[in-house]
């Protein structure tokens, strides 16, 4: 129960911080915001690495491998495409 309450506390506070920070993003940057925040949601990669590397059973390793592939596309593709877009906004 205690871990649950701690986790919920973190969840609620992080949502709050998210609202406060993201409300200030101007509409002109909304597309990079989506792709950039999307790259951050690829944080599941951390869980995927553990699943793929624990080597407990063949099945979890396969699931982990798939998860690593998806999450890495998400992270690498997300940050790179965001960078590409933001460079266009900057160069003047």
């Amino acid at each position: 129960m205690e871990t649950l309450v701690t986790s919920v506390t973190v969840f609620v506070l992080a949502l709050w911080v998210g609202f406060e920070v993201i409300v200030k993003v101007p509409p002109t940057l909304h597309t990079p915001l989506m792709s950039g925040s999307n790259a951050i949601s690829g944080i599941t990669l951390v869980g995927a690495l553990l699943s793929a590397g624990l080597g407990h059973s063949g099945l979890t390793t396969v699931l982990g491998l798939l998860a690593v592939v998806f999450a890495t596309i998400n992270v690498v593709g997300g940050f790179l495409v965001t960078h590409r877009m933001l460079e266009m906004f900057r160069r003047k």
Partner: protein, 467 residues
């Protein structure tokens, strides 16, 4: 590395994510912000790889190599006009990864006595449900945006009932899993039904409502990651996931407000499924529409002091952004004040028009939001509507029975002259005629957006040579 040290690094990564998103509050700091976020991710991944529990690196290295190559390739090759599809795909992959990780964790937990706590199983069920909905909802959105399937709302009889039953089945399976977490096959059944739900829930939503759908799926991909954080009792996943969840929720709200519609209406409305009634369109347009040639419009532009360009999805379809920038350059060199009026839901995703114009080197200072540009339109000589329709339809103000009643619009009808560049009089997404096209001060240029703009540039240049 001891757990406490790992967690401190995770805290550092979380802080960098927040700082990174904060950097996105201005175009000047945004590149750095994105790099800060990427640095946070690098730290998180590096620290995880040092985890003592990892015994085999084969699958990890294979996954990282394949994923990085595919991600980098996508990011480099994708055209700016296809950015909505790209974001839809990335959302989906994030959701898929979360669902897979929760599934793997559930299988592993079977071996560890006492691991199947209520928090664990509820979170795993949530992760599987949201993750699968995100993946398949995003794939459906991708197929619509890429026009693999009809971009229009796909509606059929009994749709709401079917969707409600599918949602109930998904929730029922989630409940079953929580009660009997030893039956891992229930998890995969849950994922399968949720996948179906994702597709069914997305297909009734039409093309121009895509900004809402993509924002919502963005939010789901974050919430799925946060749910996985609950599964693994990992605070960094919870923090990063909820940041993204919050971001998607805010964007969803902004998009709904910009259409004066509730989220429920967007998700269940089947908006734009029925075509407009022909008779009504004839009554609005008959004998009142004035077509103009490029020469005539160019003459108007020559004497203008302020020109406002209002881009819509038509600009994206015809890839006209570079031509528009050339036209703006020609006009500016003649001392004309050129601004852009951007409606929040113009295009297929939030900020779609801004990215396209940035690609064509239009300075972001020239881009104005709806609230800023509307007061200026009264003192505008020529407003050029480029492939936009519903977002400039005055019926939103005047006809309370219209499907777009109360939607905030760009008030181009206040300008001295309105030039509408459009291929035909066909209705926009809302399926209603637009009285703007038949207004006293409106000239229609019936042409493809890019061709029309290039014609205008040619005429203006010839006039300059002649003078």
């Amino acid at each position: 590395m001891p757990d406490w040290l790992v967690n401190l690094f995770y805290l550092l990564a979380s802080a960098l994510f927040i700082l990174g998103l904060k950097g996105l509050s201005h175009p000047r700091s945004a590149v750095r912000g994105n790099l800060i976020g990427a640095a946070g991710m690098l730290i998180a991944v590096a620290v995880t790889l040092l985890d003592r529990r990892i015994l085999s690196f084969q699958a990890i290295v294979a996954g990282l190599v394949i994923g990085s190559a595919a991600g980098a390739l996508l990011a480099q090759k994708i055209r700016m006009t296809a950015m909505p599809q790209m974001v839809a795909l990335l959302n989906g992959f994030g959701g898929a990864a979360s669902a897979l990780v929760a599934g793997a964790a559930l299988i592993e937990a079977q071996a560890a006595p006492g691991a199947l706590t209520a928090q664990f199983t509820v979170a795993a069920a949530a992760s599987g449900l949201i993750g699968a909905v995100t993946l398949w909802g995003s794939l459906a959105a991708f197929a619509k945006l890429q026009e693999l399937i009809s971009g229009n709302a796909v509606v059929f009889r009994g749709q709401h009932l079917l969707n409600a039953l599918t949602a109930a089945a998904a929730l029922g399976l989630a409940g079953w899993l929580v009660a009997r977490p030893q039956q891992t096959e229930v998890y995969w059944a849950l994922a399968a039904v949720s996948s179906l739900l994702g597709v069914l829930a997305t297909i009734p939503i039409g093309g121009a409502d895509m900004p809402v759908v993509i924002s919502l799926l963005n939010s789901y991909s974050g919430l799925a990651a946060a749910a996985t954080g609950f599964v693994l009792a990992n605070n960094m996943l919870i923090i990063a996931g909820s940041l993204v969840g919050a971001s998607g929720i805010i964007l969803t709200q902004i998009m709904c407000r910009a259409m004066n519609r509730s989220l429920v209406n967007v998700l269940f409305g089947g908006f734009g499924a029925e075509p407009a009634e022909r008779a009504e369109a004839d009554a609005v347009y008959a004998g009142r529409v004035k077509a103009a040639s490029a020469e005539e419009v160019a003459m108007l532009l020559e004497t203008a002091r302020r020109v406002v360009i209002v881009p819509g999805y038509g600009m994206a379809v015809s890839q006209a952004q570079h031509a528009v920038q050339t036209l703006a350059g020609v006009l500016k060199s003649r001392g004309v004040d050129v601004l852009y009026g951007i409606h929040p839901v113009a295009g297929r995703m939030p900020g779609h028009m801004n990215v396209l114009l940035a690609e064509a080197d239009v300075p972001y200072e020239d881009l104005r939001e709806m609230e800023e540009i509307n007061p200026l339109l009264k003192q505008t000589d020529v407003a050029i509507v480029l492939g936009a329709n519903d977002v400039v339809n005055p019926l939103a103000r005047t006809d309370p029975k219209s499907p777009i009643a109360g939607m905030p619009i760009l008030e181009v009808d206040q300008a001295r002259t309105v030039v509408v560049i459009k291929r035909s009089l066909s209705p926009g997404f809302a399926g209603i005629p637009n009285p703007l096209f038949a207004a006293e001060r409106t000239l229609m240029m019936f042409a493809d957006a890019k061709k029309a703009i290039n014609e205008l540039v040619r005429n203006l240049s010839e006039a300059a040579v002649g003078a």
